[in-house]
Symmetry: C2
């Protein structure tokens, strides 16, 4: 969930000054348009980690937008009047009418997250509350309210740095109190709870937007652009006569163009000798783990995704070499059969789930929904938007039933892919591996990149993490995959 | 939830024999059409009370439909193969492909209801499971699956009668075991759990259809007609190019035309003397209850609905006479103001919620959404279909916050309404009370009747019951209202 936000994004002052004036003008234009037509109301939720710039963002919005049509509501402990009524009453009071924007700072997510992180709320009652909130937000969306939910994030190190910085200056020292340091101590717990809450409440009608809160310029531009795009898209939909509920909010690209994929250093060193040695050791550990008594009560689901020629097949063979043929199945996923196409898209994966004690290795997987189907337009935006939550639910069910789920994205550079394509064409026994489709897909690289980043951000969960594999060097990639897998298995089976 | 199903519906053998042949032919036609075009898959869920005819209905469907395109799956305890995989795996295996119908007998609702009724599952984990099921069904619906969920119901007395009848014949005696009687002992608990589960999982995309299971002929026709109508409507939507998710299933009229309203005896005896005496007593008890210390921590929300001239105003005055002016507010609901129309429809009720220790009396209410707005087409079918769950959520929040919610439907006959309209026209000081709108609404009576019955079935919950008031005699109606209110208050405040 927080993968992209922890990359360390920033925008220089100069970059910011180029972007800001135009962004402000555009925001004002769209705000005026909204107010004039009164098609719908906008509710902006501001949540996140202490010190990640929530307050500053609210101030900025006030400064950027026409203050007559934007209203900020900050909620603290309920007042007497509020406490005398159902908990949601104070939020209903603050809802903006059609044509206006309401910013809710300290909203309906604060208590569930805080109480759960503080240990005052158990898992089941938390989920109960979250499903109430989902129903509430679905109702608002069905009533035509545009919900934009921002989560301002800081990594653990980022939060510490921020507190230190505030303390070091006499002008801001007063802003840091013992409570802030106490909160910092709980960071990991809070992050874990926040991840769960965000995942459960990131719905097709109201997805969360996670903002890296480290750099003020970056943060401001990401918020401004997201807001602008959401408003423009909704207005477009409304004017074209679509019902608002039909719009699935787009996922927004990072203003600094830094993303999970381009942040990787794809060519990593490893020579044949080191590879052979590591491979032997890891395969031995893998065989041992899968033959253990503990594994007899579990199962293993492996997912391999990556661009063509990223080395999925080779990596899979290095795993299966260590296994008993009766224990595993490699399941290559291509276009669905007729029988599969007549069913919900997850059906063909459900039917291939391994029994206890077995291993299923998916060479491509259910993630096709948010990769090839999104990119090629085989399904609608609403369909792939809802798929993130559906896939998370699916993997949760696997994990609850005892499966270990390990997912790899093999990342190869465009140059390396080209070299491999050419090599394949010239080697007789590999020629079948290269088709016109591969060349066509290669041209869609720029469309796959955001799809992959969104996929990782929205489906890398504590239950089923994604591992990004730098795959220009096959030796390095295979060893990283085996090591990740073996470490995970040993930790789980311990 | 079970109000209509506990009315005691039946169809004679002769009636059944007139209806059946045509119904079977129509069902076969639509099944063939579905199979030929393969637009979508149909999943029929069969659930309900023991002895309410679930098995018989499954047999009947098999007999009526073309068996090549309908598949029945009965689930019992998970087999070894099933237990080795996530719990939902066995249901995924049984999903029908597009063009076919799957009947799931003993499906994903059996465990949550059984475990909760048996005390093995707490409230919060139950709700957690139900929201998982809602997400699962929403996903199926979004994938184009038509879900038809039947709940076969028997009243407590009905279940006893059925068991006795089986026992009395040597041919069926073997079918009744001690377990059945044990289950009967738990009837009330089971009914309460079932009500909660049905309410939580009756969604716009997959509402429950509750079938009175007492009479085999009635039951068969209701199931057959519901299925036919759902299939026809879905086919129509699909062929017209609407997305399947846009269809909200209609609520089906009872085949025997007996409903909650026409089952009432509207003119009940009560003379002025008895009325005066009862009124004085009840008003005294009401005043006492509302001045108690216990009430200072609660609030009271009263809802009055009914056709024009049903006597809502008069009944409300008999309540307010007993109250301190500072303690209550009467809130007449007419068309929304501009400010209200710019907000979600529940907003104008949230803003009028009473504080602790206070009383809010709504003369018409949020139920306008499923009454006038439905009948007049002021909102779409999808909008009023989702309103039932939204209203239940709203009232749950009121009750959780300590409010007592009491709802009255005042039922007046068409003749009595006419007499009152005429009387109003002739009395100078009441002439303002009759407008052309009233005459117009009167003509829509046949449209209001099903809307009222659906409303009561779908929003009469253990938290906030509806009381139907026979209102042709004003004295009787006012006393019934006051008595219901006072009894409820005294029970809660005790």
């Amino acid at each position: 969930m927080f993968e992209s936000a922890e990359l360390g994004h920033r925008l220089s002052k100069a970059e910011y000054e180029t972007i800001e004036p135009k962004l402000r003008t555009d925001l004002l234009d769209v705000q005026f348009d909204l107010f004039e037509h009164k098609d719908f109301a906008v509710v902006i939720l501001i949540n996140g980690i202490d010190g990640a710039g929530r307050g500053e963002t609210v101030n900025l919005l006030n400064e950027w937008m026409d203050p007559r049509h934007i209203e900020v509501h900050a909620f603290d402990r309920p007042t007497g009047e509020e406490g005398d009524r159902p908990p949601m009453w104070r939020f209903w009071r603050a809802l903006p009418p059609k044509g206006k924007i309401g910013v809710l700072f300290g909203n309906w997510y604060v208590d569930p997250i805080g109480e759960r992180a503080g240990g005052r709320l158990k898992k089941a009652p938390l989920d109960q509350r979250l499903s109430e909130l989902n129903r509430f937000e679905a109702m608002l969306a069905a009533e035509g309210v545009l919900l934009v939910k921002f989560w301002f994030h800081l990594s653990r190190a980022g939060q510490k740095k921020r507190l230190k910085a505030l303390e070091s200056s006499p002008a801001t020292r007063w802003r840091v109190q013992q409570a802030d340091w106490d909160f910092y101590e709980q960071y990991d717990r809070y992050r874990e709870v926040a991840e769960h809450v965000l995942r459960r409440t990131s719905t097709g009608v109201a997805p969360w937007v996670i903002v890296d809160g480290t750099d003020p310029q970056y943060r401001a531009v990401q918020v401004g652009r997201t807001l602008l795009e959401r408003l423009q898209r909704r207005i477009e939909y409304v004017r074209k006569g679509f019902r608002p509920r039909q719009t699935a909010a787009p996922l927004v690209a990072a203003p600094d163009e830094r993303n999970l994929l381009n942040a990787l250093v794809l060519s990593q060193p490893m020579d044949k000798k080191a590879y052979d040695k590591a491979l032997e050791k890891l395969q031995g550990r893998l065989a041992l783990a899968l033959r253990s008594d503990a594994f007899a009560r579990r199962s293993l689901v492996l997912v391999f995704e990556g661009m063509d020629a990223a080395g999925k097949g080779g990596a899979i063979r290095r795993i299966t070499e260590a296994l008993d043929t009766r224990q595993y199945q490699v399941i290559p996923i291509a276009a669905p059969t007729d029988e599969e196409a007549a069913q919900p898209y997850l059906w063909r994966f459900w039917r291939r789930l391994p029994q206890r004690g077995k291993v299923a290795i998916f060479d491509r997987s259910w993630y096709g929904r948010v990769l090839v189907e999104r990119v090629e337009g085989f399904c609608s935006e609403a369909d792939w938007m809802r798929a993130y939550a559906e896939i998370n639910d699916f993997e949760d069910q696997l994990v609850s039933a005892g499966a270990v789920v390990v997912k790899f994205w093999l990342s190869v550079s465009q140059d390396e892919q080209l070299a491999r394509f050419k090599a394949r064409e010239s080697e007789t026994f590999k020629r079948y591996k290269i088709t016109p489709d591969d060349w066509r897909n290669r041209e869609k690289w720029p469309l796959y990149e955001p799809a992959v980043c969104d996929m990782i951000d929205r489906t890398s969960t504590s239950n089923a993490l994604w591992t990004l594999v730098e795959a220009d060097n096959k030796y390095f990639a295979r060893v990283k995959i085996l090591r990740t897998l073996v470490n995970k298995l040993e930790a789980v089976l311990e």
